[in-house]
Structure formats: structure tokens, C-alpha cells
Amino acid sequence: MAIDIDTARRVAHLARIRVEEDDLAALAGELSGILNFMEQLGEVDVTGIEPMTSVTPMRLVRRADVVTDGNIQAQILANAPDAREGFFAVPKVVE
């Protein structure tokens, strides 16, 4: 499966990674090379095989639905590039 420049642009946008227009052709080539390598999986007969969902057979553990943590606003904001008045600050998202 070859990836064209439009697909490369779309994937970069979906991944929220800015790729300059001039670099899209090289990216498309690299991604195509990797996908080409994956094409081998098409040879395998997977009829009747369930996709693996758990590495070891185990039930997902449940716990009581109660608050076990909290009141650590300062710790949560400590590493933020821009924190103001107890919030994470980002560029304006609504007009």
C-alpha cells in the first residue's frame, strides 16, 4: 500500500504533528516502506482467530467507586508550561 502526499498530510494532521509541505513527499515514502513491510501479515490464515485483547488471561480488576485521591491542585499544575489562577492556560478556543 503506497501512501500519497495527501494521505501523509492527513495522517500528520490526525496525529497533530506539523509537517512542512516540502517534507511530505519524504514522509509518504518512509510510511509506505513501513506499511509495505506489514503487508506480509496478509499471508497469514487468521480464519476463526479472535484478536488478542489481553496478554495474560485475567479479568480487569474493579474497585469500589469511591474517591481515593485529590486535593493536589498545586502538584497537578506544577509542571504546566502555562498555569494561571489554578487552571491550565491554552490559546483561546471559543470566539
Binding site: 496478554v55 495474560t56 490559546p91
Partner: protein
């Protein structure tokens, strides 16, 4: 004690308990070796103040008696582990300046047992790489060399491997998603074990591919691996995939007796174009286990050739999801924005600046294989093939095989920069013998067995039954003793 940094964990433990050595002196010896070893690029954040404080506390605990095995043992910690108040950036610019407010379960357990943290160790960015060249800090240099070239220590736990091989620390933590403990261990002549998936808590370890990631020890000997794994392992309610199983005494499992055990030799691991030296080493290791009284049987793991392509669908898919959290909002780097830039530009510029080329590539591949229209063709198919790969192993074990012996890597360490013009897929081939183990969730260990014609270390891998790390370590112990690997790199740094 001169050269205390060269001790094994077991020897240092005994000397500390007898009072022949203090934890402070041992830590000082390591700190001195670390400062003299800057040319290796292994330690990227040094923590001497923390180390000495922990060492003094360890000495007090040792004096009081009944100190645990790791009390006073100086370790290096891979940069992937979150350590409270200490830079933890997964060798990525996107986590520059990040100092966690919490401690990973593994490091908390190690420090609870009295271990001393010397600092954080270099690695491939987000553990994505096989040569340590994707690190934002620059590559690690292998302490081993065979000519005037600088060689890779392997990856992604390359800093851990180089630091242990060069005696900068007694042991180090590593993590292994597709071979990141075992390949660098093999390239540097040390021991590295990836435990069964679920044996060691992943909580507080920066996530790469959550269904494949496991942490484990990187040590000078099999005994040290047994001691350190015992302290890293255990159930953790904070990791929902952590197994609620008792942790056995792994060191007590090292009986040196494998008489009557069945060792499988998988025919599919005999790859086309495999170097003669690797083949010879594998045959030699097989003979060592046979001479120790094990029964050698040929086995088949028919889906082996599909393991790499399966891995390179599943791992990037999970990575693209895990790495979505690096958005410039809650921690780490945020790009400088131009006037009028909105939140989408903030995400896109931040991630373009913060992630290196290999990480960007894998995130985009993962995004593609999970996108509408391709999910079934790639991701679901890969998960089905993964189930078949796991079934291959289950059938071998059901037929009575106790452990499987394979090469650890397809070659000895290669030169830094030598793969610069190779395609990403060529670099991925480094993991050919190790990824199967992650896909099946099994324990695997790399043991140094010999030197190649150039004088570089080569390792073999043993694969064990799930949850049977003790038994696996015992097989590795027999192989280690039979191989008698004692070579050390000649100091040039």
C-alpha cells in the same frame, strides 16, 4: 575498598552486611566512576546528593541488622522511570524540564529496599530505537570497542547497559517493549531479563506500548538479576494489568541443576543470512545445556517470521494513543506560538518540535493503522497474528518444553552512525529474536556467552514459561557458569 564499583550486587551485599564496606564508600566509588565516565554518555541526570543521603540511611539500616538484599546498593535508573523531584524525560525534548510529583512503583520498591539512586540513564527517545541514537541527549557509546570506531550499546536501554558494563553502577533498571533490555545486554556483555508481562508494575513508567512494556533488571550476573528482580516485582493495584501473584525467592531458585529439563531449539530462528558466528554461539550454548544434563529438542514456532511486522503495527498503534498526552498543556515543552495561532497550531507545533524523527514516524504509523478504513486490515489483523504467535509458544510448552534457547541478537554491536542511511525497517531487524517474547508476554533473559572474532560480546536468549522466572533464571545460571564469560571492556573513557 578500592574499585568497589566493580562489585556484583551479591558480593557488595555480603561485604556491606559483614561491615567490610560501607554504603557511603560504595556510593562514592560509583560517583567517582560516573564522573570519569562522561565520555560514555550514559548518565544524563546525576543525583549525587540523593545518592549520599540514601547511602547514609542504608548504612544506619545495615548497622541495625536485617537489612534487605539491596540495602546500600547503588543503581542507575533509566530516564523512562518517573522519580519524584528528579528530571524524568524519557530522553525526549517534549518532556524537557519535567520533574514528576510522584515516584514510580518500581523505583519506590527499590528505594524502599534500601537501594541508592546514582542518577538517570540515557536511552532511545520514548524507548523507540535499537541503538540509542534517537535520544535527545545524544547517543551512548558502548564501553566495548574493537577498533577506533565508537559502537552502539544497543537500545533502548543503552545507557543502562553501558553504565553496568563500565562499572559506573552495580546494576540498573531497564524496560523492554521489543527487546530493549535484552539486545543492549547482549551488546555489552551483561545480563538482562524481561519478566512475564504483569510481573512488574508499569505504574509511573512513561508508557510506550502498554500491552508490551515490562521493566526488568540489567546486571553483571544472573544471581544479581534474581536479587534485583525480587525487589522490582509484585502486585500493584495502581497497574490494572499487574498480576496478583506472590513473588517467589528467585535467588533460591538458582540450584544449578537442570538435569532432565527440556530445552527447545526453534528452527524458525535459523534466519537466512545469519552470521556464522551467531550460529556457532547458538550451537555452543546448546551443547553447554546438553552437557549440564538437559534434553535438547527441536521445536517449531511457525509464525515467527510474522512477529516483526505484527510488532510494528501493534507497538506504534499503542504508542500513538499513549503519546497523545504530550500536547503542551499539562507538562513539558510548549512551542512558541505566532500571533493568531489557535489550540490546533499549539498541538501541532509543540509535537513537531518536541518529538524526534523516529517517534514522529511511529506515532504517524500508529495513527494510520488505527484510522477509519484501515483498522481491520492492519490493527485487527496484527492482533490476530499476535494470538497465533502466542499459541505457538503455548503449544511448545504444552509439549513439555521447559525453556527455549535462541540467539539474542542477529549481530554484535555495530558502529554509531552506521545505520544512518538504512531504512527504518532495517533497524527494526535488530529485534527479530526478541519481539516474539513481548508479543506472547513471556519472560526472556539475555546471557553473555562469548566474544566474536573482533572481541565483541555476544549473548544468547532463554525464553521461559509464564510466571516461571525462577526456573528461567536457573537455566540462565547454568548457561552463565558453563560459558564462564568474564571478559570486561578495556577502559578507554
Amino acid at each position: 575498598m578500592m574499585g568497589a564499583n566493580k562489585l556484583t550486587i551479591a558480593a557488595a551485599r555480603d561485604a556491606l552486611r559483614k561491615g567490610d564496606l560501607t554504603a557511603v564508600d560504595l556510593t562514592m566509588a560509583c560517583l567517582t566512576a560516573i564522573d570519569a565516565g562522561d565520555g560514555l554518555g550514559a548518565f544524563v541526570h546525576k543525583t549525587p546528593e540523593i545518592a549520599l543521603e540514601q547511602a547514609r540511611a542504608a548504612d544506619a539500616r545495615l548497622a541495625a541488622g536485617n537489612a534487605p538484599s539491596l540495602c546500600g546498593i547503588p543503581l542507575g535508573i533509566k530516564d523512562l522511570f518517573c522519580t519524584k523531584g528528579v528530571a524524568s524525560q524519557a530522553a525526549s525534548n517534549i518532556l524537557k524540564g519535567f520533574k514528576p510529583e510522584y515516584e514510580s512503583t518500581v523505583t519506590a520498591q527499590l528505594f524502599g529496599a534500601g537501594a541508592v539512586m546514582l542518577g538517570k540513564l540515557n536511552m532511545d527517545e520514548f524507548a523507540m530505537g535499537s541503538s540509542n541514537e534517537t535520544s535527545c541527549y545524544g547517543p551512548v557509546v558502548n564501553p566495548w570497542r574493537c577498533d577506533d570506531r565508537e559502537l552502539t550499546p544497543g537500545g533502548s536501554s543503552g545507557g543502562s547497559a553501558a553504565a553496568v558494563a563500565a562499572d559506573l553502577c552495580l546494576a540498573a533498571t531497564g524496560t523492554d517493549t521489543g527487546g530493549s533490555i535484552r539486545q543492549p545486554a547482549a551488546f555489552t556483555g551483561i545480563v538482562g531479563i524481561k519478566p512475564t508481562y504483569g510481573r512488574v508494575s508499569r505504574w509511573g513508567i512513561v508508557a510506550f506500548a502498554s500491552s508490551l512494556d515490562q521493566a526488568g533488571p540489567m546486571t553483571k550476573t544472573v544471581r544479581d538479576a534474581a536479587i534485583m528482580l525480587g525487589c522490582m516485582a509484585g502486585h500493584d493495584p495502581k497497574d490494572s494489568t499487574s498480576a496478583d501473584l506472590a513473588v517467589p525467592d528467585f535467588e533460591a531458585a538458582l540450584t544449578g541443576d537442570i538435569r532432565g529439563r527440556r530445552i527447545g531449539i526453534p528452527r524458525e530462528y535459523r534466519m537466512d543470512g545469519m552470521p556464522a558466528e551467531i550460529e556457532k554461539l547458538w550451537a555452543a550454548g546448546t551443547a553447554m545445556l546438553r552437557d549440564a544434563g538437559a534434553e535438547i529438542v527441536d521445536i517449531s514456532l511457525p509464525h515467527t517470521k510474522y512477529a516483526l511486522p505484527t510488532y510494528y503495527v501493534v507497538a506504534p498503534a499503542e504508542a500513538s494513543s499513549n503519546l497523545a498526552r504530550y500536547d503542551g498543556v499539562r507538562y513539558g515543552h510548549r512551542a512558541k506560538l505566532a500571533a493568531g495561532d489557535g489550540i490546533t497550531e499549539m498541538y501541532e507545533k509543540t509535537r513537531a518540535e518536541g518529538f524526534g524523527a523516529e517517534v514522529q514516524r511511529r506515532v504517524m504509523i500508529g495513527t494510520y493503522v488505527l484510522s477509519a478504513g484501515f483498522y481491520d486490515a492492519y490493527y485487527n489483523r496484527a492482533r490476530k497474528v499476535r494470538a497465533l504467535i502466542k499459541r505457538d509458544f503455548e503449544q511448545a510448552f504444552a509439549a513439555g518444553v521447559d525453556a527455549i534457547l535462541t540467539p539474542a541478537t542477529p549481530s554484535a554491536a555495530f558502529g554509531l552512525g552506521e545505520m544512518a542511511n538504512a531504512s527504518p525497517v532495517e533497524m527494526y531487524l535488530n529485534d527479530v529474536f526478541t519481539v516474539t517474547v513481548n508479543l506472547a508476554g513471556l519472560p526472556g533473559i539475555a546471557v553473555p556467552v562469548g566474544l566474536d572474532a573482533q572481541g565483541l560480546p555476544l549473548g544468547l536468549q532463554l525464553i521461559g514459561r509464564p510466571w516461571e522466572e525462577g526456573d528461567l533464571l536457573n537455566h540462565a545460571y547454568v548457561l552463565e557458569r558453563a560459558a564462564g564469560f568474564v571478559a570486561k571492556p578495556e577502559k578507554w573513557w
